[in-house]
Symmetry: C2
């Protein structure tokens, strides 16, 4: 799968005066396509609409987006589909224009080669030194202001780990740099509430919605590093890879995931198999 980019439905480049570039004034979704279908598409579009509402960005025409998706997502195999929505072309300065015409950008690219062992053996995670700033106004949104995640990943460049764990400036657990985290404690599934930072991931919500079917009780909570240490097992979620059990956190081995395995089997995931 080669990378394809569409701007407002047409192949082509981006106006450099777009506010998405100038200020990160927008949102994005990263989605898994299998055999021409987008997993959890309605949930992604729903989160996008909610993000637009919170940032006062007009929602782009979802019928057009769906048309572009069905015209361009490959019918066979897997692909990563990225949908960016920005406030559009702006007058100079931070103040949004009185009326804005959002830009939507669709990128379709190759599926990443996730190792099968990430699902069966689990992954290794290292806590980053970088702490996330707390701001309830942006918390939960998958907005385009992602320098913190970029710097966290820079930190991990030479580390031998599959994902970085991020705490906020108050020391609470937020999640992975590109994933959400769950702690299993008996029948309870704890995940950070994300009132101050972090992204409310689509797969995080899927897991919370499916938990009762497995007799599990999902709860959003303030999660400290203590809760992670005391957990029976830990796992990560993300709309592309699905669910990965954590087998090692900061060098400490963890029991690798009966609950995670059950969730993987129940929900399914885009494993290469």
């Amino acid at each position: 799968v080669q990378s394809t980019w569409l701007v407002n439905g047409l192949p082509g480049p981006l106006d450099p005066s777009d506010r998405g570039l100038a200020y990160g004034d927008g949102l994005f979704e990263t989605m898994a396509a299998h055999s021409g279908e987008i997993r959890w598409l309605e949930r992604h579009l729903q989160r996008l609409r909610e993000g637009c509402r919170r940032l006062s960005i007009p929602v782009p025409d979802c019928a057009e987006i769906r048309r572009a998706l069905s015209g361009h997502v490959p019918r066979q195999g897997k692909a990563v589909v990225k949908l960016i929505v920005t406030r559009g072309i702006g007058q100079r300065g931070y103040r949004p224009p009185p009326v804005s015409a959002p830009t939507w950008i669709l990128g379709i690219g190759a599926w990443p080669p996730y190792p099968a062992a990430n699902y069966t053996r689990g992954v290794t995670v290292t806590t980053c030194n970088l702490r996330l700033g707390r701001n309830p106004v942006l918390a939960g949104l998958k907005h385009l202001n992602r320098l913190e995640q970029v710097l966290a990943q820079l930190e991990l460049r030479d580390a031998r780990c599959d994902e970085g764990l991020l705490l906020d400036t108050s020391g609470f657990v937020v999640g992975g740099t590109m994933s959400n985290v769950f702690a299993v404690r008996g029948p309870r599934l704890l995940t950070p509430r994300l009132s101050f930072c972090g992204v409310r991931g689509v797969m995080r919500q899927v897991v919370m919605d499916f938990a009762p079917r497995l007799g599990l009780q999902a709860e959003e909570a303030e999660v400290g590093t203590g809760e992670l240490r005391e957990a029976d097992e830990l796992f990560l979620t993300n709309a592309l890879f699905g669910i990965w059990p954590i087998r090692e956190l900061d060098g400490r081995a963890l029991r690798c995931g009966a609950v995670a395995r059950q969730l993987i089997e129940t929900i399914g995931f885009p494993r290469d198999s």
Copy 2:
């Protein structure tokens, strides 16, 4: 002056896979051009280099940027020159590629019609409800993650004021949405230290450097709203407009600026006159 955009020195649009759009993974400078010359160009380039160093973005070729500036900045009149530097085109995901080729983008646009009264009578300022998140890793940088400033300006859309004042989530004063703030107290010039958020403005530094020539002592400090209330006068700084005295903060009238006036006369400013 019409808007001109160059990407890496050539007229044209931007690759939608640029990390500047995807993550706000970059920096910018907004500069005042007068009769073909960029005010404080060396200071702007110095801040840009320092920002690149902090974000581990390779510094683009400044000789090329200077050539583009001399070829494209209008010889007559005033213009706004925006220089954006991003980490360039990226592989998917937050992690920067092992070697990145930065993108630099130059935008040249019309000079904003600042009213002359902003310099003589002063401006009105309203404190925004939005609080800035605190993160020392990003503090001081003029990076592309500017959603907080956009949302603050959205708040002010219907307010009758010239600028918004921003506090951080701990209640400390940071500055204006697009400017830095100074409080005059006798011979002292206080300005927020910006260790946790905010942008270290070029004009802020110019004022701090010039202060001793006027017998003033410039100090970076933790500034609370109390320090603003107790000040003899307040003023704003920004590389485009220069220095604006504040004549009203949240409806309270202020003595309008002998010190600000002196600084305006000493440093000069890009007033339309």
